[in-house]
Symmetry: C2
Subunit: 356 residues, 2 copies
């Protein structure tokens, strides 16, 4: 069993901890947290050993009536691997601690690509993390994960001449009460390209990609307006079929009446997904269009959860325990990734929709 410590227990950390706990080959060493808030109490209720992320804060947990298993350093010492889910930039400060105990570490997309030995997306470059000399990886951000998953099959099947993507970004997560905007549409950043294109290049160094970022008053998911100039001129039906074969891409069927991120999340909750999470890219099937060699589509990305399967795969890749197919299949099966399967019967009817 792989002993996995999770350092940081916020939006990503709590989801990674839950995912680790369900893996057949992993055991959750515990989770480290800075503050004794509602999330810390939830961790204790779940029976997760809780560690104080900051040494001199142990008192505050005691005052809040929360039992600690120790300090983060104890967890790092015990674990075979640490998943660092601390806020952007804090991971860099933690690297020294992990190196001190020779504990391999998985960081998140908020850290700089130069911090780690490799940037990681399971579908796109799993083997970048399996190499002997790789001790740290970075699961790229939610948006970059979504783009990498989409570009991987397109590259393999058709080649990608150029990708141009406008990311319509949610202003903040549902719990981030101090973020904006309200009633505004902001170029964010104003400068072009946004950081997302260069970040995709940490996964696919040779992809020609320009990205533009916009921020709007919504909290549920991001939406990508995607244009990819392909190296071929396939039919839209062929592209739909290609994409629907990818377990982490979900083609939202037109007949479900799902018209936006609100209904997508409602659908996820109705199917019993924990926290209403959508681990898959949600691609509107009817938006998949091809004009010559120009592919267009809309996809929504659940910023709080799409990187969770990738974190699990990163653990196995970093320790070189499984190959890509085995790891992804195990992750998907244990978590329940793959909304496509709910519509399998339908697919056979819909995919050969004609060569539009």
């Amino acid at each position: 069993m792989i002993q996995v410590g999770v350092n940081g227990y916020g939006t990503i950390g709590k989801r990674v901890a839950d995912a680790v706990a369900t893996q057949p080959d992993m055991k959750l060493t515990g989770v480290a947290k800075t503050r004794p808030n509602y999330e810390a109490e939830a961790a204790v209720r779940k029976g997760y050993p809780l560690y104080a992320a900051v040494p001199d804060r142990a008192d505050r947990f005691r005052e809040a009536g929360i039992d600690l298993a120790g300090e983060a350093e104890d967890m790092v010492m015990t674990a075979d691997v640490v998943v660092d889910t601390t806020p952007s930039g804090i991971g860099a400060d933690n690297l020294e601690l992990y190196e001190r105990y020779d504990t391999p570490a998985v960081f998140q997309g908020g850290e700089d690509g130069s911090l780690v030995d490799a940037s990681f997306n399971a579908r796109a470059n799993y083997d970048a993390a399996t190499a002997e000399d790789v001790d740290s990886v970075r699961v790229v951000s939610c948006n970059t994960t979504g783009l990498s998953r989409l570009l991987a099959p397109l590259r393999e099947e058709y080649g990608v001449e150029k990708a141009r993507i406008t990311l319509v970004r949610r202003g903040g997560d549902p719990g981030q009460t101090s973020r904006g905007p309200i009633n505004d549409i902001l170029p964010d950043p104003v400068e072009i390209p946004s950081h997302h294109g260069p970040d995709v290049n940490t996964i696919f160094p040779d992809v020609d990609i320009d990205t533009l970022g916009v921020k709007v008053p919504a909290t549920l998911m991001h939406l990508h307006s995607v244009n990819v100039t392909l190296g071929a001129e396939p039919s839209a039906a062929a592209v739909r079929e290609l994409l629907s074969a990818e377990p982490r891409l979900f083609l939202v069927p037109e007949e479900t009446g799902i018209d936006g991120t609100g209904k997508l999340k409602e659908f996820a909750m109705d199917t019993g997904r924990p926290r209403g999470d959508l681990w898959e890219n949600c691609i509107w099937e009817d938006s998949v269009s091809v004009e010559g060699s120009d592919l267009y589509l809309f996809q929504s990305i659940h910023q709080e959860s799409d990187v969770i399967p990738e974190n699990i795969d990163a653990v196995r890749a970093l320790l070189d325990r499984e190959d890509r197919e085995t790891s992804m299949a195990t992750t998907d099966e244990t978590l329940g990734v793959g909304l496509e399967s709910l519509f399998d019967g339908r697919r056979q009817r819909v995919v050969p929709k004609g060569d539009d």
Copy 2:
């Protein structure tokens, strides 16, 4: 003096009426309205002759204590030209009335292009409306107007190989209280292209353009994420210079600290613009980027007002009273179009910003 009747007195109609009233060569015959609401009262207070748009509604105006100058038909009879600013689709019903009295008519973008003799954008195709046999024109929608104004100089200077635009659309106008979404990002329409690309082709039939529409919870302005593959590889500075020479394009200077549509509207109101209107395309100067032959930029479009100068020019073009340059200059001077002029000193410093 050109006698101009305005049929419909909502978001566009009230603005067109005000604009007509300030033109040296036009006289407002009056405005026609269906309901005696707050807008009707405002028209009367301004001294605009008010006509009942629907014959049997005269009673309702009387009950509300509002004096009528007559019915819409009287206005159509008297006017040299009617600007029809009724809701989408109603204009088509009114065409017969205008034809009955041989009154040329200017329609809005909500009507179908096939209704009229020509679709119109002052900068792009003024002369399409001056021809002898053209009795009706359609000022294209706010978004199409914004795109046409931008594409016109780019076509003339560099040629346009292909345009790909994502329109991040406001959910509704500030007064449209029943519209959504709240907290959502909707592909709208899901199908690609949206109607905007084909609509641009009513102005530029030969432009290769694909548009994607997204709807978000904001009311102030639309935002376009623009990619245009040019027929040349100019520097970003050269493109900025080209665009800043266009009176109806406003390059938002970075040093103003204007970061979104909220501050743009605030700025417009601070400069004393009526209703805080922004008749110009608002292009973020720092977003203007060139990558090879790919131009990228963000522009915001004030859906309530950018077509107002075009309606005024359409009146002159339809009656063949002035050439394009004279009409546009008169319109811009009387309304006060041209925010660029506020930054003229600055421009000379900023334009030669280097060949980034």
